[in-house]
């Protein structure tokens, strides 16, 4: 299935293939591949959804993939049938791709999607005449309303079964072409030349030859020159000069001829009656993209999205937490204290759990991103924010991914798929984790609540604590600006790619498709959480527990539990005493463990930041997820692991913590340096995993981690050193 972006292709694909869809990446590139298997009329059919493309002269990796699949150059087998999907309301433009697809030489079915929207905007199309003219079956559909699907399925089955065998290619004629005779002549001539080189027929089909002629510098041209030698390159130049002499300059001639043909064709088969409906999009746009108010409305929409996410995800997250505690209790009840139980509850459940707790938030964010994109507003946001994004050296398309990263970088980075410029996309992916995500918030709240004085300004309107919180949240954003500029000038140099963004008509988003996408994304996130984060959590748990004599710990835990089970008042004091002892034992174990030893060994690295080894251990232990540091601090300071950022006990302990020489560990500069470190660090396995998936290599997650950690260290260093001198 191929078609322009914004033609409802995904909706149609989902409607046709149901839930049996397999997603992945095309080999070697970061382009997503979606394949579905269906059974119609007794035949098993594989449907492949190609990335949206405007033409078959590829300008981006997406389009490249589409061309390769169609011409059989990729590792995928050549398709037996191409379904070309057009927006029935915009055939003037959509048919451009269709005329090219017809030249490939494979059977084609033309699908006029969004038929209902076309009708209500006053467009009438004579389907029969169009079908006759183009020589292919033309089926009107309305995927969102599930109309026309049966006819489409029938047509597909018919086409596939009526063909005798595989399609043969001829190098001198190709499919149905509307290009003029001079061009055809040149293609024939070039084809003959290629025939002499002995290339197999599929690699020199008429379509490929014409593409090599019509796309100067394109990948097909390069491929054929490589295969046929410099002689072919010369021949191409000759042909182009010959055509230019006839006023048919390449590449302008192709576009002119195609649009001319389309214009003529549509004047015969299409009638456009303007009515008020057609301008609805314009009227909405005049408000939403207003020069002054449009921007404010955009901010308001964002605020709305974020508040809704926080409001709804809180109870859901609590639910997940509740479930996990229940599970943890279940395990604790059914097993005696021992290494296995500790592994399950403290390693696996708490580690993986701290990531799963974010699942509701992530899913909600995917939902909103999907809604905004589907209804068409996202393009408007990119349009309005382009100038601002230009300050970072990026384009407006990076706006939504970066904003989403303020809630969680995982969906934000996945949303960078809409950025078609490879360099822009990479830079956006690399600075997205700098946006202050919601996992950093508990750390800020803890530090600010404990150490920043509660001074008020402006008669109680402004509090110092709020100012510091705001500063920390926006620190990442401010640092991201120079980082983006540097990246753009060093690793990702190049001219800014052209900004040509289509603003589709507003339409009702298809809830089914969006929920389907949320489900897919959530599933893949959980799958990743289930594997690598699981591994990391276990690793951190193990390094925090061993080596060390665990016996006393389990004895104490066992005693406490049996006392609690007996539930007698007289035992309360004993329980408390034992608990305190248990906490001390835990702290000592942590101290002596691998993690603790590592922490103490690298203390010199952290002391310029004003930290002691315990904070260092906390930071290292928070590699799976940032907020783990709070629980780790709780353990280190003998409070047990079940503390949160509002815990008075933890706050008190932090205030009282001292160095061996008696000096207080925590002070305002130290608190600030911890917050700055967390604002800029990359302690989040989920994010790194998503970067790996989106960039298809290990180099970039490693790079992200390294550069952000260095940045965090330097930031914390400066904060502390300047802080103590003030």
């Amino acid at each position: 299935m191929i078609g322009n972006p914004n033609t409802g292709k995904s909706t149609l694909f989902n409607a046709l293939s149901g839930m049996r869809v397999r997603t992945g990446n095309y080999p070697g590139v970061t382009v997503e591949q979606r394949v579905g298997r269906v059974q119609w009329g007794g035949h098993e059919i594989e449907l492949s959804d190609l990335p949206g493309t405007y033409s078959l002269s590829p300008k981006s990796p997406d389009e490249m993939v589409a061309v390769q699949v169609l011409t059989g150059c990729s590792n995928e087998p050549r398709p037996d049938l191409i379904i070309c999907i057009c927006n029935a309301a915009a055939l003037e433009r959509n048919l451009y791709l269709a005329t090219q697809v017809l030249e490939v030489g494979l059977p084609v079915i033309l699908c006029l999607n969004m038929w209902d929207a076309a009708q209500s905007s006053g467009v009438t199309i004579d389907v029969a005449s169009l079908s006759k003219e183009l020589g292919v079956a033309v089926i009107p559909t309305s995927a969102s309303r599930r109309e026309g699907l049966t006819e489409l399925k029938q047509a597909i089955v018919e086409e596939l079964t009526s063909r005798g065998g595989p399609v043969t290619f001829h190098s001198d004629s190709f499919g149905t072409t509307i290009l003029s005779d001079p061009v055809r002549l040149e293609v024939k001539r070039l084809g003959k030349l290629l025939a002499e080189t002995g290339l197999p027929l599929e690699q020199r089909s008429g379509f490929l030859v014409s593409r090599s002629l019509l796309d100067p510098g394109g990948s097909v041209e390069l491929m054929l020159i490589k295969a046929a030698g410099a002689r072919y390159a010369e021949a191409l130049q000759e042909s182009r000069r010959a055509l230019a002499a006839q006023q048919l300059e390449i590449p302008a001639a192709e576009a002119r001829q195609r649009y001319h043909y389309i214009g003529e064709l549509l004047s015969r088969v299409q009638v456009r009656v303007p009515n008020s409906q057609a301008r609805l999009t314009d009227r909405i746009d005049s408000v939403l993209t207003h020069r002054f108010f449009g921007f404010l409305i955009c901010l308001a929409v964002l605020m709305l999205v974020f508040s809704t996410i926080y409001w709804f995800s809180a109870p859901l997250s609590d639910g997940v937490e509740g479930f996990l505690s229940w599970l943890s209790a279940l395990i604790s009840d059914s097993m005696d204290p021992g290494p296995l139980r500790s592994l399950l509850t403290e390693g696996v459940i708490s580690g993986v759990g701290s990531v799963l707790v974010f699942l509701p938030q992530i899913c909600l964010l995917f939902l909103f991103i999907g809604l905004l994109e589907d209804c068409g507003y996202m393009a408007r946001a990119a349009f309005m924010m382009d100038r601002l994004m230009g300050l970072l050296g990026l384009s407006g398309r990076s706006f939504l991914p970066l904003m989403s990263s303020f809630a969680c970088a995982v969906p934000g980075i996945m949303a960078t798929r809409v950025i078609d410029d490879r360099r822009d996309r990479f830079v956006t992916i690399l600075i997205a984790p700098l946006m202050s995500c919601s996992a950093r918030l508990p750390v800020y709240v803890l530090m600010i609540g404990t150490f920043i004085p509660e001074t008020l300004y402006l008669g109680g309107w402004l509090s110092l604590q709020a100012i510091v919180l705001f500063a920390m949240s926006t620190l990442g954003l401010f640092i991201a600006i120079p980082v983006a500029m540097i990246l753009r000038r060093t690793l990702f140099r190049g001219e800014p790619s052209p900004f040509l963004l289509e603003l589709p008509d507003y339409r009702m988003p298809s809830i089914r498709v969006i929920l389907g996408r949320v489900w897919e994304s959530g599933k893949s996130f959980v799958a990743r959480a289930g594997t690598l984060i699981f591994a990391t959590s276990v690793l951190v748990w193990a390094s925090g527990s061993f080596p060390g004599d665990q016996k006393e710990r389990y004895e104490l835990a066992g005693k406490i539990e049996s006392l609690e089970a007996a539930d007698l008042e007289s035992h309360e004091a004993e329980i408390e005493e034992l608990s305190a002892r248990l906490n001390i034992v835990n702290a000592e174990l942590l101290r002596g463990s691998v993690l603790g030893q590592v922490g103490r060994t690298v203390e010199p690295v952290f002391s310029p930041l004003g930290w002691d080894w315990r904070i260092g251990v906390g930071v290292i232990a928070s590699f799976p997820a940032r907020e783990v540091i709070i629980a780790t601090l709780g353990t280190i300071y003998s409070l047990g692991g079940e503390v949160d950022e509002a815990d008075e006990g933890l706050r008190g302990t932090l205030k009282a913590a001292v160095w061996p020489n008696g000096k207080k560990v925590f002070s305002i500069p130290v608190a600030l340096s911890i917050m700055v470190f967390f604002a800029l660090c990359a302690q989040c396995v989920s994010t790194l995993m998503v970067i790996r998936r989106e960039t298809n290599s290990w180099r970039w997650p490693v790079f992200s981690f390294v550069y952000m950690t260095v940045l965090a260290w330097v930031g914390a260093f400066l904060t502390y050193q300047i802080g103590i001198r003030m």
Partner: protein
Amino acid sequence: MISSTLNRKSGVSGLYSGTKILEICVYEGSNHVARWAGPAILFLSNVRLSLTLPLLSGRGSTIIKHVIPALSVSSFPDFLGGAAVNTLQLADLRPGTSAIVTAICGASRIASRLMEMGFVPGAVVEVLRRAPFGGPVQYRVHGVSISMRAAEASCVSVEAAAAHNEVRTRASERLQLAAH
């Protein structure tokens, strides 16, 4: 600074005052080829340039100080789309106006992308609105709404159109409406 008349002539190909020149080489006798930070490759003939130093320094950033115009229409080769001199560019149009595309110039990439999106000679372009902060501008062509920045819009030459009426084709009388 380039004089304003030259600006008109050469602006069609994307050469403006202040444009960074990346490299200059001599090509086929008196023709010079200059490549700059914009998208196009421009063949200039009979042009004398005096430039600030450094001239070619690898990354070469020089600014044209003074160009003595000796450009004629014929010095623009056909592949630039037969750019006519003294034409209006899409970037010059105000929101609320329309125009007809006469030519697309510039390097292949942007030009072919523009043409695929519908900006072909003869197409009617409506200018809809400009984004906040002086950002991109929204246009409508061939029934599709497309936004682009000034850099891309300056690759499209247009001529002002008379108010165009909605086209009702003769086919509407003969047309048999489909069952849908």
